[in-house]
Symmetry: C2
Subunit: 414 residues, 2 copies
């Protein structure tokens, strides 16, 4: 690493069109936070909105806030705001429940739209909750079965047959960061007569997503990663306009009713996206998310993607140059076109290496069994942060500081 | 109303053993809040915990708070704390998702434990989401059917036959406040070979509940009414110890897995109550609830019940004495033994009357089609508040101030 490189990297920050957004975030000055793909950083606006909700709305107007502060409509209001980031026209996205619960709704809706077909396809390499929920759906549908890419067949494209009703697929792989071509795969799925459900947990807010243009049928995603909504903030679900009204899902709670306050005995689903709601939502968490989403007004998604690729390319280049022969294996696609906004390296002692990195002020995470995972949130990271992360990783590996016994103990949550 | 009565009522407040708890709550000095059965009032502790969670945990330790602040174990920790209020020994209650979603889990679990039986019984007068969710469960179980008390038969007790697998019943009716005898009805349900699922939304925190002693099988409830957890704070679900390990529910997300961080491809449910979890929970809302539950340490539930009955008896007595002939009809049981902590009066112009009451600083709510509903939260209400509410209602009805056109417009959320 020459001084010249450092000057070049500082120049990248100086000409970064998104550089002004960093000040909106609550960041520790002495840390490099590369875990925004697990839990995003709060903005000052998100914290301020949460405080207002707790003090003036809950603590002041109390029950009247359902109307006065617009609490009841937050799921559709925030849904439309997220819709703008994922290429969904208004009225197709609602914020509600968790990603897991929303996968359950979407899979059931898709299966009901393809009567006679009994197979769900998913990915063996998926974040596991997608598979666990698909198992749960299968358990409620006689004759249904779940088949997994990489386990029961080589690739989704080659597993599409006349029995496939729904394909549940991740836009960006949670571990490797591998990015799917949404339009191309959706077209293949439709050509086979099946419906496509996209999991956007690792792409919403990380790169441009075009659900409507790709012809996606359903989608789900979380809001606490690149959308910075706060720990466990409510998830979203998308249903394409053409399926609204006819799509049915069995979590038919009162918030999905056509007339929730008429207190009728029988269920009649709302004709729009509200049918994908179920019960009363956690408003404090929802209000923090509302504050968090404000930063996206005016963000150019093409500029976001360009910066994301610049950050991840720089990280791969710096790490490989500095750490050659030190046991790291790139687990993410090298080609930026096939990569989300994260980079994974395998290492035989990944757990300890990550603990040593964290002790050195570089926060990434570990994924079992042996992966170091680094997320690059373009709204608040600088190119110089990437340099510091690579330098710290080099230092940890060269000094073997990760062998310190204090880095061996596993915590409950990884 | 004589001066002597007022002096007597002031004396009731002076000797109230719970009177010291009121100061823990954030209350407007000029209002009487009788809507704690819809949205409970925040405690200063709940707001403080929320602020700490937003600033120091999310904004400071970020991802590390999952371990350091104990976020991941909040559902079971808070579950056990609620368990102490509802007569459940540790390890049987978990805080997760919404009441609606938890009803779905409990009904599925109960149906799977009674193979061959296909009927769910519920109440025609139930809060509707219970019925809507039961419809949703029925839609996923071939041959299953839902029968309603008051619609398909006269009373739950007389509808129990050999096909009934599960009975979903409210401990306290959301509208009338009618209280069921949990032990007696559970025994009848068990004698018929069925399982009992109790909805505690209007009893948890309002009166003593004894799930274990009554032999209940499952229970659900919300935390934003008498438990004051905040708007839409996460709900709870109870499964009796004898059902743990064998009870299955199809919302099999990763938080219910025996080893959630092993990222295994196949689902294996946790052997304990964690199996009733699904996905990542809204931690900010959960932390406010944690702060809210602190006030219950040391609260004598018998004293709580005694005060609740004193408040509701006083309200009925005062309203009936002051408002005779003014069109009110008591819709709650007159006998305190059969009543929860709320009082309902019917009135032909209930909507307008409630708006006029609210304008007069007495906050209750309206329930379609023609009910004035008043909740009495014993932790923060005084007997003098009851007097003022009755006086205000008398004034609104005698002056007919409710006829003011500004009280006619309906809001979206009632």
């Amino acid at each position: 690493m020459t001084l010249f490189d450092r000057i070049e990297i500082e120049a990248m920050d100086a000409r970064d069109p998104l550089r002004g957004l960093r000040d909106a975030f609550v960041l520790a000055p002495d840390e490099v936070y590369l875990d925004g793909n697990s839990l995003g950083v709060p903005t000052h606006a998100a914290q301020a909105e949460l405080l207002r909700a707790a003090r003036d709305e809950w603590g002041g107007d109390l029950i009247r806030s359902w109307n006065k502060a617009g609490w009841f409509d937050l799921p559709v209001e925030l849904g439309d705001r997220i819709g703008r980031l994922i290429g969904a026209a208004p009225g197709q996205v609602v914020v509600s429940d968790t990603t897991s619960v929303n996968i359950y709704k979407a899979l059931h809706a898709a299966m009901a739209l393809r009567p006679g077909r009994r197979t769900i396809l998913a990915e063996g390499g998926s974040f596991p909750t997608d598979l666990y929920i698909a198992e749960g759906v299968v358990s409620t549908l006689p004759g249904a079965r779940l088949r997994l890419e990489g386990v029961d067949g080589p690739a989704i494209e080659q597993m599409l047959d006349g029995d496939v009703a729904a394909v549940l697929v991740n836009h960006v792989n949670y571990k490797t960061g591998a990015l799917r071509d949404m339009a191309a795969l959706t077209a293949r799925i439709h050509a086979a007569g099946a419906l496509a459900i996209w999991d956007l947990c690792h792409s919403a807010g990380a790169l441009p997503v075009e659900l409507d243009a790709a012809g996606a049928d359903f989608a789900v995603g979380c809001t606490y990663k690149y959308l910075n909504g706060g720990p466990g903030s409510p998830a979203f679900v998308y249903a394409a306009q053409r399926h609204l009204g006819q799509a049915r899902q069995p979590l038919s709670g009162w918030w999905g009713h056509a007339r929730p306050f008429a207190f009728e005995t029988g269920y009649e689903g709302d004709p729009g996206i509200r049918r994908f709601q179920c019960g009363t939502q956690p408003i404090l968490s929802m209000r923090a998310l509302q504050g968090a989403l404000a930063i996206w007004d005016g963000v150019d998604m093409a500029a976001l993607r360009a910066k994301s690729l610049a950050l991840t390319d720089l990280f791969i280049q710096q790490v490989e140059a500095r750490c050659a022969g030190l046991g790291l294996r790139l687990e993410s696609p090298r080609d930026g076109e096939q990569r989300g906004s994260q980079v994974a390296f395998g290492h035989d002692h990944a757990w300890q290496v990550m603990q040593a990195l964290i002790a050195g002020g570089v926060i990434g995470d570990f994924r079992a069994p042996a992966t170091l995972r680094f997320g690059f949130a373009p709204l608040y990271l600088r190119h110089m942060d990437v340099l510091r992360a690579a330098e710290t990783l080099e230092q940890v590996l060269k000094s073997e500081s990760w062998r310190d016994p204090r880095f061996a103990a596993r915590s409950a949550v990884t």
